[in-house]
């Protein structure tokens, strides 16, 4: 299949960028990233600069393959990462627009690569459990209700890709932050630090320059892991409760 690609090219963080158009011959069984590999080999053969894009696992679990394809972060298929998106979902002769995730908190490093270290700093603010775990515990030694375990696990499937920020009209990071808070706060191991976790992580999220959540739900619609906005509601109420009830006063 023949494809016309409109790709965002940007040399560095400080320079502006623009679209370049390329034509590639791809196979419908290729993944989107394999199709971009073909483009890059072609560019290298022509002694041109290949398109920079991030990728690692190529099996939908690491969350690095960020790009906006025809207006959708990770492309038009629901619950699918770019690396798991196959070319059979596109038509022969189609023009595909590919641009980076756009948010001030995610500055472009080069072409389609953006700096998502803001997410790392949100995790550093409270996305962990500070206990000495010692020996590996026996399975099921801490009984956890099945519904709770499933909901915590669903939240834990967030791969930190940032598509929620890219999709949100406000570039809000609430879906990511709420998934990371929820998956720890719902379990007994995480409950001990629940109040300070929600306060610290939300404070850090606000400090990174993401927008506020307007409940648009574009994040849930575009999330490759189908993370639910129920987590956002949970974090809202835990944030109210922690603010009112805990002795802790925010550092910022």
């Amino acid at each position: 299949m023949k494809l016309n690609l409109k790709v965002w090219r940007q040399k560095g963080a400080e320079t502006g960028g623009k679209f370049e158009t390329y034509t590639v011959e791809a196979n419908e069984h290729m993944s989107f990233l394999e199709m971009l590999d073909v483009l890059n080999e072609q560019l290298i053969a022509e002694q041109k600069e290949p398109v920079s894009f991030e990728h690692d696992c190529r099996e939908g679990i690491c969350g690095t393959c960020s790009m906006v394809i025809n207006g959708h972060p990770h492309g038009p298929m629901k619950g699918t990462t770019t690396c798991q998106l196959h070319m059979r979902h596109f038509n022969d002769g189609e023009t595909i627009t590919i641009e980076p995730f756009r948010a001030n908190a995610f500055p472009v490093i080069k072409d389609l690569v953006v700096d998502r270290s803001a997410f790392d700093r949100i995790i550093q603010a409270g996305g962990y459990i500070s206990v000495n775990t010692g020996q590996a515990q026996d399975g099921n030694s801490i009984p956890i209700e099945k519904e709770l375990a499933s909901e915590a696990f669903d939240a834990a499937t967030c791969i930190g890709c940032g598509a929620c920020v890219a999709a949100c009209p406000n570039a809000s990071a609430m879906l990511f932050t709420s998934a990371k808070i929820s998956h720890l706060n719902m379990l007994p191991q995480g409950e001990v630090e629940a109040a300070q976790r929600v306060l610290n992580m939300v404070d850090q999220m606000d400090a990174e320059g993401f927008g506020a959540c307007s409940n648009v739900t574009a994040c849930e619609a575009e999330c490759p892991k189908d993370i639910s906005v129920k987590n956002i509601a949970r974090v809202n109420r835990e944030y109210f409760a922690a603010t009112l009830a805990s002795e802790r006063v925010s550092k910022k």
Partner: protein, 228 residues
Amino acid sequence: MNWFTRFLTSSIGKKLIMSLTGLFLCLFLIVHLAGNLQLLLDDGGNAFNLYAYTMTHNPLIKAVSYGTYFFIILHAIQGIVLALQNRKARNSKYAVKVTRTTGTSSFAARQMALLGSLILIFLGIHMGDFWWKMKSNQTNTLTIEGIEVQDLYEKVAASFSVEWIVAFYVVAMIGLCFHLLHGFQSAFQTLGLNHKKYTPFIQLLGKGFAILVPTLFALIPLYFYFVK
């Protein structure tokens, strides 16, 4: 920063203010609508004029109405500030952007500030036309059941015989409908209420409220213009 101001200026705190003031305004709409539907009675405006008299002379109702003015202003200022701040979170715009949503209207959700501004302009014209003219005694007085009241009914009938005013009221109510289509259910999500048992009911109630209340409001000028 003091913990309380820190809370109110956090992204979640700002939204809490939007949610609580928004829900208060929804309650206000119900009361305002119930009162105004008396305009449709065939009694020469007596019931409505007496009602308007009570609303402006009962001290408790007066206190609540000042609260309402305050909440509208707070909701509007906070809403516009939030919208401007949220826009600033993304300086470089997408060449192609499709906003898919789940469980809310994508148009309404993205255009809350625009729809709100339309409502604000409407409120300015609406208050200027009725509230201000009554406050500054630009209405005639008449006596009903021994009470001397201002004839606000006559003022309403006069305004609703003007084509552009009627058209503008209808447009504003369509704006309010979309504002509530997203806003009603969104306010509960902001409060942290998203539950398998209650959310489907809230979603349905929100749709009903968003369609019914503005439709009934819009019926009043239409009835005056076309029927009375």
